[in-house]
C-alpha cells in the first residue's frame, strides 16, 4: 500500500469534530455503518459470504484440500486463513507481493477464528496419519472504505458456517456441512481526533492513529487482541473499548446466528 501524505487539514478537522463528539459522516462515536451480509454467493467456493459495511465490500470463500496430517498431530486437519487486498479495492493498494498491511489483516482474522476453537480440527481427519481436510479461508477485498478487519472477520465466519465439505469430489465419502461450533466476532476501534471510535471509514483511518482489534467468543471470552500502528493508549481507554466490544459482539453474533 502506498502511504499517502497524511493531510494535516484532515487531522485538524477530525480533532474539531471529536471535540463536539461528532464524526465526519454524522455517526455517533460507537455507531457502526449500515451492514449487509449474504452467504453462498460464489459458485466455485464450498462456502462463501459477502459483507457490505457502508462502502466497504468484501468477499470470503472457503475451499478444501486434502493434506497429510503433521506427524505430531496425526488426527488433525488444518485451517488456513489468508487475506488479499488487491488494487481493485482502492487507489492506494498496489499489486505485488502481500503488503505488511494485508499480512496483518490475514493474521489478525486468522487468530480470532482459530483461537476461538470454532473449527474442531480433530473432526477434519479422514484417515489418521494419512489424510485430513485442510480448510482454506480466503478473504478478498472488493472496495476498501475502511475497517476491512471487521468486514473480513464477519465474512470469514459466515462463509465457514455455510461451507460444505466436498467429500464426493475428492472421493472420500458423502458431502456434509462443515461443523462450526462457535461464533467469534471481531470489533475494531480507531483513535480518531484523539478518542477511539468504532468502525472507522477510510478517511478516519487516514487521519487517525492507532487501532485496536478485539475478538470475543460466545461467552465474552477474549480470543485475540491486536494493537496496530503507532500510538499510545491508557488502561482506562482500553477498558472502555472492551466494554463496548462485549455489547457490540453480542448483537453481531445474533445476526450471524440467525442468517
Amino acid at each position: 500500500m502506498t502511504i499517502p501524505i497524511v493531510p494535516k487539514l484532515l487531522r485538524s478537522h477530525l480533532s474539531d469534530l471529536a471535540e463536539r463528539d461528532a464524526r465526519i459522516d454524522g455517526r455517533g462515536r460507537w455507531e457502526g455503518r449500515e451492514l449487509e451480509v449474504q452467504h453462498s454467493i460464489l459458485p466455485r467456493a464450498e462456502g462463501s459470504a459477502r459483507v457490505r459495511m457502508g462502502d466497504t465490500i468484501v468477499l470470503a470463500g472457503v475451499k478444501f484440500q486434502i493434506m497429510t496430517p503433521y506427524p505430531d498431530r496425526p488426527n488433525q486437519g488444518g485451517l488456513m486463513c489468508s487475506a488479499e487486498v488487491r488494487p481493485v479495492a482502492g487507489r492506494n493498494w498496489e499489486s505485488g507481493p502481500p503488503s505488511p498491511e494485508s499480512i496483518e489483516l490475514g493474521r489478525v482474522v486468522d487468530r480470532g477464528i482459530r483461537e476461538s476453537g470454532c473449527i474442531d480440527v480433530d473432526s477434519l481427519c479422514i484417515i489418521p496419519g494419512e489424510k485430513a481436510w485442510q480448510v482454506i479461508l480466503d478473504l478478498f477485498a472488493i472496495s476498501d472504505d475502511g475497517n476491512l478487519f471487521d468486514a473480513f472477520a464477519l465474512a470469514g465466519i459466515v462463509a465457514l458456517r455455510n461451507a460444505t465439505v466436498p467429500a464426493e469430489r475428492f472421493e472420500v465419502g458423502e458431502d456434509y456441512q462443515l461443523s462450526v461450533s462457535k461464533t467469534p466476532i471481531m470489533c475494531s476501534y480507531h483513535r480518531v481526533g484523539g478518542r477511539f471510535v468504532f468502525d472507522a471509514t477510510a478517511r478516519e483511518e487516514l487521519g487517525g492513529d492507532e487501532r485496536i482489534h478485539i475478538t470475543l467468543g460466545d461467552d465474552n471470552n477474549v480470543h485475540s487482541l491486536q494493537k496496530g500502528l503507532k500510538g499510545i493508549f491508557s488502561a482506562d481507554e482500553f477498558t472502555e473499548i472492551m466494554d463496548n466490544a462485549i455489547e457490540r459482539t453480542e448483537k453481531l453474533r445474533k445476526i450471524v446466528d440467525e442468517l
Binding site: 466455485r44 475451499k63 488479499e84 488487491r86 479495492a89 480466503d138
Partner: protein, 239 residues
Amino acid sequence: MGGYGEVQMIDENGVRADGRGPGDIRPITIETGVVPVADGSCRMTWGTNEAIVAVYGPMEAHPRKIQRQDRAVLDVAYNMAPFSTTDRMRPGFNRRSREVSKVTQDALESVVLLELYPRSKIRISIEIVSAEAGTRCVGLTAASVALADAGIPMTDLVVSVASGKINDVVVCDLNKEEDNYGEADLPMGIMPNSGELVFLQMDGDLSQDEFKQAWKYNMDAAQEIHKLMVEALNGGDSQ
C-alpha cells in the same frame, strides 16, 4: 484444447448439452458502480463466470519512469481470486495472468483516447471471482464497461467473445465442459460499431472454412452483447 473426441457435447440436431444452439451465447448480466470507492466499475456475470472490474484514474503516473509525455498509460491487472476455481488457485504471480493482463491492455489501449491525458495513468483491475470458461472475454468486455462508467473517452466499446469447435462442429461461446474437451478456441475483441478487431487469439485446429464460421459467430454475438452493455450504461436493467 483437450481434444478428447469421445465426449458427446452436441447432438445430431445441433443441440448442445446445456440446450443451446451452435450460435447461442450463455446468459449475461451487467451492473455498474459496484466498487463504490472506484472511479468506475462493472460486475459482469456470464454463465457462471463473474468478473468485477474497477477503474482508477486518470491519476498521476508514478514512478515517473512509466510516464509518457504525450499520452496516458494503462495499467491492466487481470487476476483470478483464490476461490474462483474448482481447485483453489494459489495467490500470486502467475504466467497466465500476466499474459491475459497484457493482451487485455493491448486491446484497451487501442480504443482509449490516451492522448487526452498526457503523463497520467489509468489503472484497471480485473478480478475473476468465479471462473467458468472464457474469463478473458468476460474481463475485457467488463473492463470496457467500467472505463465507460468512469467517463474515460473511447472510440468504441470492446466486446470480447470466443467461438470454438466441439465434436467437429463450430459453436459459439464455449462453456466449461466444451472448453475442456473442445478442439479449438477463437477469442476475439470486437469494436461493435465498426466491426474492427483489437484482440485476437486462437488455439487448436480449425480448417480455413471452420475458421470463417467461428469468426462469423463471434461477430454476430458481439452485436447481441453490445446491446446489454449499452443498456447497463444507460442505467437499464440488463438481466
